[in-house]
């Protein structure tokens, strides 16, 4: 490999920060990006595994937050590229698991405990389903305000703890039938193979309904950060249920009372003075991804407002958009496919007249649950007002409030939740 080639490879690997600089270097006098048309050198492995255009710089890492978040502002359609799927790591690296060594054990209140190899799991009848995975803390732009005085600026920061993939694997209900579930059983606990072995209890009712044991994501093996070689997908439930690097399922007659269900995830309700736990489903939620916070509209005129809607309770039935701060609402168009517990893309034509405008969306799911305003959310969540939500150090999960974005006369867009 000559020096030039090595230089180019380094360039191709370079991150977003470098891209702008490099582009400047290879522009011709006429301003055409000549490099993009005919690369000078083509290393042998070039495009053996594809890379996106060097002009595309969207990333999930946010230097100001240890959790990486899905860059929803750049999203199109409903599928999140696996490489941009958010991660909630409290450890640094995903485990490096050899699929030939990996095993799934199912035991507990079953007639026939079984160990499955990856090879055996792939021989079984498979299903592919499109579902979102969303962290319980997603949709919270107040958390950042409490830390540094400012509302989360971008939709990546407000709603980037959700992502939607096509998952392929086997139904957990099928595996459980192979082991034969005993009749007193009501719960199970699932556990990962990573060093800290995160674990979570899941109701058997859900497990027998639609839970997937997935080895595929968006047409390829699940990525290491997403649980390679095997993970659970629990449609519509808080992200923490979707155990990655799945190695064990134990069937029980009560929840196992792991840390994740007894400490961080229950709601400490101010109105009751008690904790509400075992509240797993994510409520109906929608957000406009374009135009959204941090973006700038270059001129007045036509824009297609677009965004995503999803619900842990089922399929999205309706999305309404308001361009006047919630005074009037009109139906947005829903892009097919509209699937249960999946992101749904909505679109709304808009002519910006150059005046200040507040854009927001609200969705209704197919069990007629409607996305609340922040004030309505506070009342339902714990009998509190927005003032409480703004200031408390109490953990407030499941925020699914309507998200307004304000367009100023100069075209800049910012978070207008408060």
């Amino acid at each position: 490999m000559n020096t030039k080639e090595r230089g180019r490879r380094r360039f191709l690997k370079g991150g977003a920060a470098l891209a702008g600089l490099a582009v400047g270097e290879i522009r011709s006098a006429s301003g055409q990006a000549i490099g993009s048309e005919r690369p000078e050198v083509r290393p042998e492995d070039f495009r053996a595994y594809g890379e996106r255009s060097r002009f595309v710089t969207s990333v999930r890492r946010d230097p100001r937050n240890p959790n990486s978040r899905t860059p929803l502002q750049d999203s199109v359609g409903i599928i999140t590229p696996s490489a941009l799927h958010f991660m909630v790591p409290t450890w640094i690296d995903p485990p490096d698991i050899d699929p030939w060594q990996h095993r799934l054990l199912i035991h507990g209140m079953v007639d026939r405990p079984l160990i499955f190899s990856m090879e055996e799991l792939k021989r079984l009848p498979s299903v592919s389903r499109i579902h979102f995975v969303e962290c319980a803390g997603s949709g919270d732009s107040l958390e950042e305000r409490k830390k540094n005085g400012m509302l989360a600026e971008t939709v990546q920061r407000t709603h980037g703890l959700t992502a939607c993939s096509e998952w392929t694997g086997v139904l957990l209900s099928m595996l459980l039938r192979e082991t034969g579930v005993q009749k007193e059983a009501t719960w199970l606990v699932a556990e990962g193979a990573e060093p800290r072995k995160r674990s979570k209890s899941i109701p058997l009712e859900k497990a027998m309904d639609d839970v997937l044991v997935a080895y595929g994501q968006n047409g390829e093996p699940v990525r290491p950060e997403q649980g390679y070689p095997l993970r659970l997908v629990v449609p519509g439930f808080e992200g923490v249920h979707n155990i990655k690097w799945l190695r064990r399922i134990k069937v029980l007659d009560q929840p196992s009372m792991e840390k994740e269900e007894t400490s961080h995830y229950p709601t400490q309700r101010p109105d009751l003075g008690k904790a509400r736990w075992f509240q797993f489903e994510m409520g109906p939620k929608s957000v406009i991804t374009f135009p959204s916070g941090g973006q700038r509209l270059p001129s007045r005129g036509f824009y297609e407002i677009t965004g995503l809607a999803w619900s842990g309770g089922g399929a999205i039935q309706r999305v309404e958009v308001s361009t006047d701060g919630g005074r009037t609402w009109k139906d947005a168009e829903l892009q097919e496919p509209v699937l249960r517990m999946a992101h749904t893309r909505f679109r709304f034509p808009w002519n910006w007249d150059g005046d200040e405008a507040v854009l927001q969306s609200r969705c209704t799911d197919d069990v007629e649950a409607i996305q609340p305003t922040l004030a309505e959310f506070g009342r339902i969540w714990g009998g509190v007002d927005s003032e409480y939500l703004k200031t408390t150090r109490n953990k407030v999960n499941h925020i699914n409030a309507i998200q307004p974005w304000k367009v100023s006369r100069d075209g800049s867009v910012r978070n207008a939740l408060l």
Partner: protein, 196 residues
């Protein structure tokens, strides 16, 4: 909005039936695909690290707060502080009396409803980078130390598989109970839950 709630109630009547039907089928069924191998009792024991609230799975061994204090200073204090209050990582001691204030401080002492969860979590996940390295005796001792520091047990108390599950955690009765049938019930704005 009222209407939405009613709708959910109606649907919830159907849900348990679906779940039940699925369970019944499971019971009736013999394996269809006959894949997978049968684990030995020894294999299951080696893998099964879940400790439920009744503590049935707790291994033999024992420990006291005094023994735990030494291990804590060596293996835990650098992250959780010399007395368990200072951090930098999760505060392990204190928070009692704050849960009904606007700024509740949730710790294993003020919040966690089961002592078995402290044992389970310490055993499976602590200390980071050396997870699984603690012996059963060490985990009993560390659990005793953390509970003693939170004023929940006496310094002299000996924790083992019998005594640990019997510890009365102060916040135990401040969780809204689960539905005894293990079935999901509706709530507003998609707030389904498994309790009233």
């Amino acid at each position: 909005m009222k209407e939405a709630f009613t709708m959910r109630c109606f649907l919830s009547l159907l849900m348990p039936v679906v779940g039940l039907a699925a369970c019944v089928t499971a019971l009736a069924q013999t394996p269809t695909y006959k894949l997978g191998t049968t684990p030995s009792a020894e294999e299951i024991r080696a893998w099964d690290i879940s400790i439920g609230p009744a503590g049935k799975e707790l291994p033999p061994g024992s420990g006291t707060a005094k023994e735990g204090a030494k291990i804590y200073a060596q293996k835990c204090a650098q992250c959780h502080g010399p007395t368990g209050r200072e951090g930098p990582n999760s505060r392990l001691v204190g928070g009692q009396g704050t849960l009904t204030t606007p700024d509740p401080v949730r710790t294993i002492g003020s919040y966690w409803p089961f002592a078995t969860t402290i044992w389970d979590y310490t055993n499976r996940a602590m200390p980071p980078n050396e997870e699984g390295s603690l012996t059963a005796n060490e985990v009993y001792a560390l659990t005793a130390f953390m509970l003693y520091r939170n004023g929940i047990i006496q310094e002299s108390a000996v924790l083992d598989a019998k005594t640990l599950p019997k510890i009365n955690m102060p916040n135990r009765n401040n969780f809204i109970p689960l539905w005894p049938d293990g079935k999901r019930k509706p709530g507003p704005f998609g707030f389904y839950s498994w309790g009233p």
